[in-house]
Symmetry: C2
Subunit: 287 residues, 2 copies
Amino acid sequence: MQELLETFEEYLLANLPKSKTIHPHFELALGDMLKAGGKRFRPMLLLSVVKSKKSLLVKNSLSVALGVEFLHTYSLIHDDLPAMDNSDLRRGFQTLHKKYDEVTAILVGDALNTEAFKLIANASLHNDIKIELIKSLSQNGGIDGMIIGQAIDCYFEKQKLSLEDLEFLHIHKTARLIAASLKMGAIICEYEKEIQDKLYDFGLDLGLLFQIQDDIIDETCSSEEAGKTTQNDSFKNSFVNLLGLDEAKKSADKLALKCIETLDSFEDNLKESLEELLLKYINRHKL
Amino acid sequence: MQELLETFEEYLLANLPKSKTIHPHFELALGDMLKAGGKRFRPMLLLSVVKSKKSLLVKNSLSVALGVEFLHTYSLIHDDLPAMDNSDLRRGFQTLHKKYDEVTAILVGDALNTEAFKLIANASLHNDIKIELIKSLSQNGGIDGMIIGQAIDCYFEKQKLSLEDLEFLHIHKTARLIAASLKMGAIICEYEKEIQDKLYDFGLDLGLLFQIQDDIIDETCSSEEAGKTTQNDSFKNSFVNLLGLDEAKKSADKLALKCIETLDSFEDNLKESLEELLLKYINRHKL
């Protein structure tokens, strides 16, 4: 697992977007948030699935994994904009609109969105596979996925949502891209359709579980323990605010159990590959 | 030509992005700028090339042409944002950040960018062709194309550029997507590589020509004649400000002559198809 992560980090550093022009900082800005770290959870999910079945294909999958990280990173850059979260810091570094200006942050986000599809289209994989990957990423990273989740999150910032709507929000905003990362790994190494779908559903559960855990952590931990600013969520739509702490914990336990059962039902290689990854990430706060 | 445009407009209206959720205006906002008109220059270039060789493929190319229009439209929505041009009107309608809010404008733009690639990936065309189309759109609509042009345009708004840099700006900001539209048409109907490249270069010349003509119109016409606010460009980087009116006109004439010569060198069907289209659009002000 550690080796796989190092391979990915090396690949990322060697393949940061290039843009040598008269613009004094655009190329630098393109790489800033990609280099700033983050846990690389989505690319690691994708690569772990590939490794479980066709480890020789890991190398050819790195650009696809990087594409998923580009898409995720663009969404963070735009979420941090003054019109949305108005955040000054991300991953311990100044956000792009603080370090440079809003124009740079908007355009770097736009660029990474488009570039994600360029990376996949140019990967050394069969065209049939690349088309399935692009379908999956655009389906889950677009209107029917991440974007509508973010739109709902922003619009209903000050209005109480129902449990159903809150789940819809987080499944779309977060879980669908996590699910797509698993499915894309399965597409590359040609797991049968049934496993692809099962991995996708597992990803949805996992994404939702992480969100509920996040809300619980925000409620119960001090900032120091959580590694970020916490106890800010009293006026926000959160599972804890909606269900109460005890019920939120019960929901998380139930989902965790479901995830473990699904994991157990996978064939040995896949199960081991994902277990190793999840042990590292589970209960971490920001994926 | 008129028939082809009507076919495209009908297809667009029937295929506006859908998003039925609790969000009160997101679906509406996704369609607003697409329905607001515009000359559909890029999709028409693509479809005209396809029609010149394989008219039966026009139907299957509509979603690709729509993808190009999505990408172009997202760029207009983001260019209009307060941090960039801060425009209240576009195509005679309120811009999205004026009608709704900035969050909506940012996210609708993001969505149309991603959705462009989804449309192409899901088109009824061979996967090999779709991958080439995605390569071309992402190459010319991304960091090496439209986006770096826009970044340079914004950054050097108040600084005088050299002629070389001004050409670089407009070739990237505008001409590359026009060139890609022609090339993508050629990819679909499988013109040989040489014609694909020639169409692409023709598109670059055409895009630059339109920009110089635009600058000349801004300098010489009243707002009423030009159909938009003009004579605003005295402090902007424009070909007229850099070269003087006479030299700008000479440059435009030279480029126009080059375009006509290239057009004449194409085989009859392609030449006629593009001539008909260009006669309609040439000397129009905003493509």
